[in-house]
């Protein structure tokens, strides 16, 4: 039956299916999805998603010319090459200078704006990608693009792919968890089996659905129930004999896994177990940073326990008006927690095996929108900044560049599919080997293939 269920899936994937079922034991290092030449260092991924779209020219892509050209029209040499993107109609054609100061940080001297003064101190860990691009100007399709590689929202999310390909290092927790999630298709399993879908953690005390036992049931009652279920299932298995037994056994085992998850998960989610110093590091002691800080701290606790992929969403970057106020407020909520996360991962030796991704669904136009006292910027996917840290990525560098005002990627354009190929590479996966046979097509993470950004690695 399992074999049948697995039909249509690549053989390696079947291996991982069985692995997660506990049907096969670990020791699958030779699985063909791994690059034979170089086994990536990373084991886990934390995606710090900045919903709304942070402006590249105000964060990680300084443009001195932009401020000089403030309130002037986009130079014709640049305007000529802009893609005909419908929504850009909203932006006034005049440029808006950056209201923030940039400083150089770390030994590398990477320029970072004051918005990320804390994160900037870790510049030597950051590999800024200044030329990421795609072509949708709309928020939700943009989020789908960044998380699934396509704007339609019907493909598997990166986290689902990795759980499918690598299984989980922790049998007691789901392999793909989502914090602050808003759009379900950004953690969807797409055409992969539903089990690889991310689990969006609730905000209450019940973070995993149905984790809490019903009121009125004690642990010893539950134990008695599980013993009865196991005993009756075994008697049934003996009567049945052969055939579907693998599937039946896997189902029997899932009850023990559930029981273990019930005790392991609350421990993993309990931030009170962290010292005051650590809680401060993430900004849990301040109102502005407490929420995102708790997400970041939770993310660290989860990757520490072998969770494969944690998606952590922040929002508030969509500054169509009042760019200055809006970006200050969004950065204030996230800067310290992100810096705390990087420091904490590093001091625990986890940064080497965790890829941290930072970025939004797109960047913002160098031109102004809603001119007046508090102008803002419109959506701009033609060339924006993201950064990677950890997982063998070489920090302290910036890759690619945009035109002199930061409108469009000009040097080393990095499509989102290239970004995904690079993340797979960090985990030691060859993008063409991790596939799922769907409607006769070998579907891969990068849709039609991406290019690994080799220079991102040391």
């Amino acid at each position: 039956m399992l074999r049948r269920a697995g039909l249509g899936i690549g053989s390696l994937a079947l291996t991982s299916l069985m692995l997660e079922d506990g049907v096969l034991r670990a020791g699958e290092e030779t699985s063909p999805i791994f690059n034979t030449k170089r086994r990536g260092r990373a084991k886990s991924v934390i995606f710090l998603f900045m919903g709304g779209g942070p402006s590249q020219v105000d964060t990680f892509d300084p443009k001195p010319d932009l401020s000089k050209l403030h309130d002037q029209e986009v130079p014709a040499s640049i305007a000529r090459n802009l893609p005909l993107s419908a929504m850009m109609g909203n932006a006034v054609k005049r440029l808006l200078g950056c209201p923030f100061q940039f400083s150089r940080y770390g030994e590398c001297g990477l320029p970072v704006s004051e918005l990320f003064a804390e994160t900037g101190k870790l510049a030597d860990e950051l590999c800024v990608l200044r030329s990421v691009w795609h072509d949708t100007v709309i928020h939700v399709p943009g989020e789908y693009m960044l998380t699934t590689g396509s704007i339609l929202g019907d493909r598997p999310s990166l986290g689902a792919w990795l759980c499918y390909g690598l299984g989980s290092d922790n049998q007691d927790l789901p392999g793909f968890l989502v914090l602050g999630g808003k759009f379900p298709n950004t953690w969807s399993a797409g055409f992969l089996p539903a089990r690889f879908q991310g689990v969006a953690l609730g905000s209450g005390d019940q973070k995993i659905p149905n984790l809490n036992m019903p009121a009125g049931l004690s642990a010893s009652s539950r134990r008695a129930q599980l013993d009865l279920i196991a005993e009756l299932n075994h008697q049934h298995l003996e009567r049945q004999g052969g055939g579907v037994e693998m599937e039946l056994e896997a189902r029997i085992r899932s009850y023990e896994l559930a029981f273990r998850m019930q005790s392991a998960a609350p421990e993993a989610f309990d931030l009170r177990r962290e010292s005051e110093a650590v809680r401060r590091l993430y900004g849990l002691d301040q109102n502005d940073t407490a929420e995102y800080g708790s997400y970041c701290l939770l993310a660290r606790r989860l990757v520490e326990r072998g969770v494969r992929f944690v998606q952590v969403r922040a929002e508030g970057w969509d500054s169509h008006g009042d760019l200055k106020g809006g970006h200050l407020s969004a950065a204030k909520k996230t800067d310290r927690p992100i810096a705390g996360l990087l420091r904490d991962l590093k001091q625990r030796g986890l940064l080497d095996e965790t890829v941290v991704i930072w970025g939004g669904e797109f960047g913002r136009t160098p031109t102004m929108e809603n001119p007046g006292n508090a102008p803002g910027r419109d959506h701009s996917p033609g060339g924006f900044s993201m950064w990677l840290a950890g997982g063998g990525v070489k920090g302290g560098q910036a890759i690619g560049s945009t035109d002199p005002v930061g409108y469009r990627a000009v040097e080393r354009p990095i499509h989102v599919n290239d970004l995904h190929a690079t993340i797979l590479h960090a985990l030691g996966i060859d993008q063409h080997q991790l596939y799922f046979l769907h409607h006769n097509r070998k579907e891969i993470v990068t849709v039609n293939g991406g290019e690994v950004i080799q220079e991102a690695f040391s």
Partner: protein
């Protein structure tokens, strides 16, 4: 000569596409093969002859016939998706008639539950859902009529060829009928990005969805590969793809007004003529505004582009068409629904305001006319239809002029902005060209021509694909293991002659699905036991040659339905509008009636591999096993309630333990327990802890909300001014509308004002004058504090009080409303506020009362929940220790045997 006859003349000889590809088995005509002569008493009907011939060849021994008990359970689960009642099992086991089995099959096939079970299979194939998908994902509240049409079609044993015709071309069929129009819900189930301003992409994505689903569902071909390039494996070219898409370009999905009122909706007053008049003018003004906005936008374009847009689409060169499409998409952003009013002339804007008001008033008084979510072409359909506007900023409009001009283009790499050349609609060339005469039919009624081609008895795929799907749904695996792929990459049939014989039988018996199913389930092949056979397993480990019954797990919906049925709580009401999303978790109706919202399926459906995205035709479901499944079955309130219901039943039935155990076994597994099982159950009762060690907690919580004379108490539960969460049992009380809350429901209540407003999004903020809520506890001394969880929307101040002195309300908190800060704010939506008090000071009091002192009007719901807590902060649940009988019943619902079809 009718069109169908014209199409009969189509040549089936494959074109010159290479001998190997043309010779592919699935593209050959279906010839009824000879039934193998076998010398075995085992074979009951020709199906068995084909199966036995392979058994003999491979040296396999068929399993013995399953027990009657196993057979009736298998048949019921397979045909109805529900278990047999213990009495039915007994009657069948004792039926002396020689045709007892066949009689049972006939009875089950005649049950209206059958359509609910098999209709669900078809809905998978049709990728049917009740929302639009993509980011907006608006609901399609009238899409359920298609679901009922499918159920009814299966119950009526509608000939499969007619079933296809209605679904592909219902609006084009003569004479026009509501049923035919509803059937087009198959095409209309496509996902639509309702907020996509890029109109070319919006339309193209929808057409791709329809093309892929149709080819996949009915031809069993993965045509989608040819969207961007010629199919690498199958003889489908990119040109074929866009020719096939061409069948659909003249129509669009929409809310289509039906002719006949639906008896299920009562005799609602129909909208008066002035409504239609107002709507007409309303739409005219909108249309004028759209044109004006587009004209203004065009004037800003370079002159050469303006000239290009003047050229009719069919006269443009591909290069010109490319520029036109990009420009039109760019311009379309100007006609977003929410941005049109400012673009009207002064006079229009004034008139539009009046009309909007008038229309809203009339809509509030008169419900919409019966309508369905279907597919309709104003160009090719049999009658002109009224459509209701769909939601979204960029709704699809059935603009006759535009659709008349629409034509299929071959798109480079599938990019709608790279049209390469126009193509004519038609089916893939491998199936032969249409004759001149049918080409005319293709122009006039393209989808009817497609449907007639598909339903042609000489079509090599339609009958094979359907017969194989039936086999797949009965046995869990098709004779072709890839029911959605009959191409080169698909699996080869294990029994090609049997498949052809079944397909030929289907056609010859007037496409009767039930006839074919009856043959299948009456065969000896189907009746085999599931027992294992080591020698057979050596030869054929995967049971590909059917030497035993292959057990398989119940689908998500069936598992849920069987749970409800086993505990006696299933609400067997048939058809009608779907259960709203927010009510699905508590609903007792069959799963097929729960709203199918894309990406937000009911919880069990998502956990047990049911459809989630409903984005494309689904031929086979995965079976996955994950710890999140037992967590649901053990911890979720839904499954706990089923266990409680069954425990109540068996406890009422008898005082004797062994009778109760037997009754539970009968209800859940349809059999008596065996000796070893009884021993295990006894051990369970020994280990299960005794009654509560928890502190005494209040057994009953009452809450009182003020009377509202306008609402009769009996209706309060459904559409009253207040909704009270939890399993409330309403009772009339002299204090007003009161609710006694069942002790097992826990201590949390949510309240919101749900008086139906003129539109779905009117104000729902509670009226402070009516927002006094009193909780009354049995033993107040046990309660140390009340935790309030407030959804702040619309509430500005809440005050609370505990004890017996009604005058001393204390402020619990205030909310920020509409940007104006007021006092101490509720920090966050859903923030919790603990309202604590000292039990010592609560002498005789046993109230907790809270008052919403002020509210601000806003759209949406305002909800508060109050959780009484004990001194140790644990929430009062009102629950006693769950009895060992509940624990026992719940355990049975988790058994493998319960979850599988044996």
């Amino acid at each position: 000569m009718t069109m169908a006859l014209v199409l009969q003349a189509i040549l089936w000889a494959p074109l010159a596409l290479g001998a190997e590809k043309a010779a592919h088995w699935a593209f050959q005509s279906i010839d009824s093969p000879a039934i193998p002569k076998i010398n075995s008493p085992w074979a009951r009907n020709p199906i068995d002859a084909f199966i036995a011939a392979q058994h003999e060849k491979k040296g396999l021994v068929p399993a013995l016939e399953a027990s009657r008990r196993a057979l009736i359970r298998r048949l019921s689960l397979d045909l109805l998706g529900l278990p047999p009642a213990p009495e039915e099992i007994k009657a069948f086991e004792e039926d002396p008639s020689e045709s007892a089995y066949e009689n049972l099959v006939d009875r089950l096939l005649a049950s209206s539950r059958y359509g609910e079970r098999w209709g669900r299979h078809w809905l998978d194939v049709a990728r049917w859902a009740e929302s639009e998908g993509y980011a907006e994902n608006n609901l399609r509240p009238f899409a359920w009529r298609y679901r009922d049409y499918v159920i009814q079609s299966f119950n009526d044993d509608k000939p499969f060829d007619l079933f296809i015709r209605q679904q592909i071309a219902g609006d084009e069929m003569e004479p026009p009928s509501d049923e035919n129009v509803i059937a087009t819900g198959f095409l209309a189930a496509a996902r639509i990005s309702a907020d996509e301003g890029d109109k070319w992409r919006q339309r193209n994505d929808m057409l791709i969805d329809i093309t892929n689903a149709t080819a996949n569902a009915l031809l069993g071909l993965t045509m989608q590969c040819a969207q961007c390039h010629d199919h690498k494996m199958d003889p489908i070219t990119q040109r074929d793809y866009y020719r096939f898409q061409g069948f659909f370009v003249k129509g669009l999905p929409g809310n289509l007004v039906l002719n006949e009122p639906d008896p299920r909706e009562g005799t609602a007053p129909t909208r008066p003529p002035e409504y239609a008049k107002a709507m007409r003018e309303y739409n005219e003004i909108l249309q004028r505004a759209r044109e004006r906005a587009l004209e203004l936008g065009k004037k800003e374009l370079p002159e050469e582009t303006q000239r290009l847009l003047e050229i009719p689409s069919e006269k443009r060169a591909p290069q010109e068409e490319r520029i036109a499409r990009a420009t039109e998409s760019h311009l379309n952003f100007r006609v977003a629904m929410n941005a049109l009013e400012p673009k009207m002339t002064e006079a229009d804007r004034k008139r539009f305001g009046e009309l909007k008001k008038q229309v809203a008033e009339l809509e509030a008084r008169f419900p919409p006319p019966p309508n369905t979510w279907g597919f309709y072409s104003p160009v090719t359909s049999a009658r002109e239809m009224e459509t209701l506007l769909m939601r979204g900023n960029f709704p699809l409009l059935h603009n006759r002029g535009e659709l008349e001009k629409a034509r299929p283009y071959l798109l480079v790499r599938g990019d709608v902005f790279q049209p390469a050349m126009p193509v004519e609609q038609g089916w893939p060339a491998i199936f032969g060209a249409a004759e001149e005469k049918s080409k005319i039919a293709l122009q006039k009624k393209p989808r009817l021509a497609l449907a007639d081609w598909l339903a042609n008895p000489r079509h090599p795929l339609t009958a094979r694909v359907w017969a194989n799907r039936l086999w797949h749904f009965h046995f869990g695996r098709g004779l072709v293991e890839t029911p959605g792929d009959f191409g080169f990459q698909g699996a080869a049939p294990t029994h090609p002659e049997l498949l052809d014989w079944l397909a030929a039988e289907l056609i010859n018996d007037r496409w009767s699905t039930k006839y074919l199913q009856r043959l299948i389930v009456c065969s000896s092949t189907y009746r085999q036991a599931s027992s294992h056979h080591p020698a057979n397993a050596q030869i054929d480990p995967d049971n590909r040659f059917w030497w035993r019954w292959p057990p398989r797990r119940l689908e998500a919906e069936t598992l849920r339905d069987v749970l409800l049925s086993a505990c006696g709580e299933l609400d067997s009401h048939l058809g009608g509008p779907s259960i709203p999303v927010q009510e699905t978790s508590a609903s007792l109706r069959r799963s097929i009636y729960l709203t199918q919202k894309r990406d937000s399926p009911p919880e069990m459906q998502a956990l047990f591999d049911g459809p989630t995205g409903m984005a494309e035709s689904c031929s086979r479901r995965h079976i996955s096993i994950s710890p999140l499944q037992p967590l649901y079955l053990l911890n979720n309130a839904f499954s706990l309630k089923r266990a409680q219901a069954l425990a109540r039943r068996i406890e009422r039935l008898s005082e004797s333990d062994s009778c109760r155990i037997e009754a539970a076994y009968q209800a859940v597994l349809g059999r008596d327990p065996e000796a070893g099982e009884i021993a295990a159950v006894k051990t369970f009762f020994k280990n299960y802890p005794g009654q509560s060690t928890q502190p005494e907690v209040p057994g009953i919580v009452r809450i009182f909300v003020p009377a509202n004379s306008q609402i009769p108490p009996a209706r309060a539960a459904v559409d009253g001014l207040w909704d009270v969460g939890g399993a409330g049992i309403p009772f009339a009380d002299d204090k007003g509308i009161g609710w006694i809350v069942h002790p097992e429901a826990g201590g949390a209540f949510s309240l919101h004002n749900s008086s139906p407003g003129p539109t779905a999004y009117s104000n729902h903020t509670p009226d402070p004058a009516k927002a006094v809520v009193t909780y009354e506890f049995d033993r107040i001394a046990a309660i140390a504090e009340v935790e309030m969880i407030v959804h702040k929307n619309g509430i500005s101040r809440i005050e609370g009080f505990a004890g017996d002195d009604l005058e001393h309300l204390a402020s619990i908190g205030e909310a920020i409303v509409a940007g104006a800060a007021r006092g101490r704010p509720f920090a966050e939506e859903k923030s919790a506020h603990v309202f604590s008090f000292d039990p010592a000071t609560l002498r005789s009091g046993k109230f907790f009362r809270f008052v919403v002192r002020e509210t601000a009007l806003s759209n949406g719901y305002a909800i508060y929940q109050a959780f009484p807590r004990l001194a140790d902060k644990s929430r009062v649940t009102g629950l006693k220790q769950l009895s060992s009988w509940i624990g026992f019943c719940q355990s049975l619902f988790n058994l493998n045997e319960f979850a599988y079809i044996y």
